[in-house]
Symmetry: C2
């Protein structure tokens, strides 16, 4: 890849020729090309095929001109290697790729102790081969973002057995603190080894998806989440690639999150982007279009996107993205219109 690339430059808060843009879930069910692949294979089957990973990861770069590719995978893909029986049901509401189910969820200290930390070069070889295949396909056009799930978010699925809320996990925090810490420790180790190997295989940046962290109050964040996230950030720093923290519902905690050691904070749409940037002056900021607007018209989508570009301000270190993933049913032409409008935006 010929440096400098505007996405990586923005991560480092260096000036760029135009605003970089990528979108969470940019490879997904809203694309006819993705749906065609999924008519042939199930979700986990897709995640386990390096060739198909490369195909669906590269497709949105060709189709929409995004400035970064993101590894097609799932934040739970390592759970079978940890000893958990993971499946994906078809077509669960909202997710589009079916909701995760874990037949043997973690409920006790003994369940936690039985979890194995995966060895990615052995257990997740298809991910690493996928990264190599993606980079071959991209041929240096855009950087590739690797990712892992944050310990709290992964734990919520592991303990609840699926997308069933947070009550069991939160109850564990209060009723068996030691078991909760042991679980977060294992999930942190699993996150670190995965992201290290993704970078070794060729990822140029890494995002930590701590999507549901906004469920915790500050006291619990300090005890059960921030120390683990700081370790993941430190491990990422050693790899030398830029690190992105993503969460939702965290507008009350931005200044503190800025101290964890990540290079970029990705914010949801629940805070104006200018206020977010003011509150984390030492970091790059990514976000924050409400993806729901793209379900309506290209005109409404572009209007809102340009408002965000303008509010983000001219200071280097802003990456256009959504506040959460692209929704199923989004017309691809609305996505294209937003990418083009962000690229055309000038100060």
């Amino acid at each position: 890849m010929p440096p400098p690339h505007r996405f990586l430059e923005a991560c480092a808060r260096r000036p760029v020729d135009r605003l970089p843009v990528w979108m969470m879930r940019q490879a997904g069910r809203y694309q006819p090309s993705y749906r065609a692949v999924r008519q042939q294979v199930g979700f986990l089957e897709l995640c386990r095929s390096p060739e198909l990973i490369a195909q669906v990861t590269c497709a949105p770069i060709d189709e929409f001109g995004f400035d970064a590719a993101i590894l097609f995978s799932d934040i739970l893909v390592h759970l079978p290697a940890m000893g958990l029986d993971l499946t994906f049901e078809k077509g669960e509401k909202g997710k589009g790729d079916g909701g995760p189910k874990i037949a043997n969820p973690v409920r006790t200290r003994a369940d936690v102790d039985a979890l194995k930390v995966p060895v990615p070069t052995r257990d997740l070889r298809y991910v690493l081969d996928g990264i190599r295949a993606i980079n071959a396909g991209l041929n240096g056009r855009v950087p590739l973002i690797g990712f892992v799930g944050g310990p709290f978010t992964v734990a919520s699925y592991v303990v609840e057995g699926g997308s069933q809320g947070f009550t069991r996990l939160k109850t564990m925090l209060y009723a068996d603190k030691a078991a909760a810490h042991a679980l977060f420790e294992k999930l942190t180790q699993a996150a670190i080894v995965q992201i290290e190997e993704q970078v070794a295989a060729g990822a140029h940046a890494a995002q930590v998806f701590e999507s549901w962290l906004g469920e915790l109050d500050r006291e619990d964040l300090e005890e059960f989440a921030f120390p683990y996230l700081a370790r993941i950030a430190a491990a990422l720093k050693k790899t030398g690639v830029p690190s992105i923290f993503f969460g939702t519902g965290l507008s009350g905690h931005l200044e503190r999150i800025a101290t964890l050691g990540f290079d970029v904070i990705s914010v949801d749409w629940r805070i104006p982007i200018d206020e977010a940037r003011r509150r984390v002056p030492g970091l790059a900021v990514q976000g924050n279009l409400d993806s729901t607007v793209m379900l309506s018209s290209a005109e409404a989508s572009v209007k809102k996107a340009l408002g965000i570009c303008k509010a983000a301000g001219p200071a280097p270190g802003y990456i256009f993205n959504l506040g959460h993933g692209i929704q199923v049913g989004t017309p691809p032409e609305n996505v294209k219109a937003v990418v083009d409008a962000v690229h055309a935006f000038r100060w």
Copy 2:
């Protein structure tokens, strides 16, 4: 009621003898006494009986010693008078009282135009009679809080037809702005006439439940929510009773919400209470215990509650409450332990 009462004093940011405490959904399925009533009658039947309203509203005052009663009713109770066919299903997840269903949801401008603004003295007489019966039962021991739903939150049920997310409503905002404004206008008028009549019937304070407002970004809040909420706050100011604004997921907007005209802001658990108080210095603040902790032990609940009391600081104008409602399955002894601990707390 012999003034001054500590709940009303705290709303006015005057010094109190001890911290006032009440809890959202303090009358509900976690109580054996409430479950006994609900074995006899359905949810809407209960909401329509002044005698039963008074019974279930007063029960938690007797059982736990809360410093305020809150009218037992529902934010959707006026919808049949507006022309909507409202029912409650039994035992939907999380709600405990069953999820609302609207057989004829509002989807078009014509649907909006057909909505009638209710006349509370005619259509919601049972609520007003209920308020009089509650005050007779309370006999001045504690003040009574009336309430309405905020226009956006009520609209989400009205447009989606139940608790089914926000996609249809948000799509209406972008695709048919005029219809959305017409809907919010009708719901604002409905909120104002209800709350005025509740105060006339004897409510000593009023809370606006705008529970799902955190779904909107600032631009949409400014266009579709804040102007309507400011009108409701102004109407409440004229009645002379303290007004409380409640929402969740709004940590990114507190300073702006503080300008709407409410006397008290109720915050969820997604911001430390000391930071919330610092950010809205001119208002009283209510909150912000994560109700999930009360599903575990009295010890863990009290520890977290006392941490909040301490963080809230000694300045007048703090009311202890939850970040959202009491959850089904909460042991009543945990609720009692928290109330007692807050009352025993001293600076």
